[in-house]
Amino acid sequence: MSDLEVQIDGVPVAPARGWRFEIVDPARGIGRLVNGLASMPVIVEGGASDWVVTIRGRRISVTVRSWRERMLAGADTAAAARAGPVAVRATLPGLILSVAASVGDAVEDGATLLTIEAMKMQNDVRAPRSGRVIEVSVHPGQTVATGAPLIRLE
């Protein structure tokens, strides 16, 4: 157990002193944090090393890894850093309203690549880093599912 390390956004985090977690509804992941003087309802979802904890309405992604898992993950990240092109994918299913980027364009980090309508709202999809557009996989009027590749940057 002492082998387990907790990270949030890649930063190691120590558990809160004096607090403990009690499960109330295991099927739904509902529980509470207690410290003898106060209590706070929480929800936990996930499994293995990837957990999402909801406290006071905020979903917090938490990684809990053993030493062995950390070693393996470190290798993955290093491999990813070496790789070149990056695929921009849809984070929500929706309707492509417009595509601002064309193959060959040089785009800056944060530039709007295209606009998706989802949940009655127009969402701009932005470049995750600077680069050159090497592929545009969608066109306006098309409906895309979550995870669908939209654009590739080199």
Binding site: L4, A14, A16, W19, R20, P26, V44, T54, R56, G57
Partner: protein, 497 residues
Amino acid sequence: MPPFARLLIANRGEIAIRVIRACRELGISPISVHSDADVDALHVQMADSSERIGPPSPRDSYLSIEAIIDAARRSGADAIHPGYGFLSESPDFARAVEAAGLVFIGPPPETLESLGNKLAARRGAQAAGVPIVPGTTVALGDDSHELAGIGYPLMLKASAGGGGRGMRRVDSPGALADALVAARREALAAFGDGTVYAERLLAPVRHIEVQLLGDRHGRLAVLGERDCSIQRRHQKLVEESPSPAVNPGTRAALFESARRVAASVDFHNAATVEFLLDADNNHYFLEMNTRLQVEHGVTELVTGLDLVAWQIRIAAGEPLADAVLNLAGRGHAIEVRLYAEDPYDDFRPSAGRITAWRMPAGPGVRVDAGVSADTDLRTEYDPLLAKLMVYADDRPSAMDRLRRALDETLIGGVQTDAGFLRWLVDDASFVGGSYDTGLIGERWGTDHALDSELGALAATVALAARTMAETGRVRAPGSNRAGSAWGEVARREALRR
């Protein structure tokens, strides 16, 4: 005798359920409609029967006049309630309902037509002697000189608009031309009408609306105001009644203006007149919505009335009771909207399956929900999950109750705005009642780094959860859950039979 035998509800989610409940209480058999995405939806389960109206896309289902009229005919309905959104303010729909020999729960099609044109509504209010937000009263041409007298910043708005669409803020004359093109394009795409007009951007300002009920016999009830100043993307998140900013004199002036606007159109059923209120207590007419508002429950809590039941009774020709005409509100009510939106990422909509769903209960708490545990949230539809309302004898007690109710609220599986709302009930400007429409931009802002205390608590939970999972003491959602797969198959099969 019930006012109708069978009533079709041309909507989905929490408002469909709200109308189902009113039908049940009135002895009316409620009929729901569903797209293919909503076969298992709560509003389908709670109705007496449900009619399929098309594929998931709203354009082909909940916005299809033909499909809904067909569903009403098939099911033997004698009236249709449109809810809010979708076809609720469509004159074409109201006409089609009447042409099919059914009763439309709402005002006459002509009223929807004249008020749907925001520019015409502005002119009508002005003619009735009601102050309007400074700006143009005719369609904007391309000549920016028309706007010289308004002053910057200003707002471009679609005449056919609603719900925050087709709006563009313009900060200087130089930005006007581009904004005009964009606003027209957006308005044309959304409403099929590119007409836009301009209003001065008033700030700081509060958004106050007055609830009306009018019967078919010319009687009008003014049922208090609601303060809807807490908005994101020009859409409301929180509403309360009475408004902490409205003093008796201002209230009387607002009510008088609302009466005048109502008297200038051929109105019956439920409507809301929206105003902006500036720091000097001047009010300006914004628009009149001739339908049920999302936030109608706030008025129900302070008046004790059932607005949906009255909508149905009025449509059946029943006159408003004297007691309703002379009603004074009591106590204080606040509503917060639980949305599948990420307040830590600019209120971006989120989607997914709800894994846990616990709503508050007990004294002074009302929840109108459209979903429950295991509901799949689809991106085609509005991300409103539920409305949490509280009532107490004064505003501080209502605020304490809201805080307690939010602490009892637990939603798993998707990011909601619950964290923002929990922050809000501790925010000094909200608690003090001195907020305006700028609250979210100025006080919530965009920087939401996780504080270390919350991170440490999350770490405690995740560490314990992993340990419990490994010792077989808990199987949290996210790993596969027994039963749900079967359930879906069974439900779908039963409905298809």
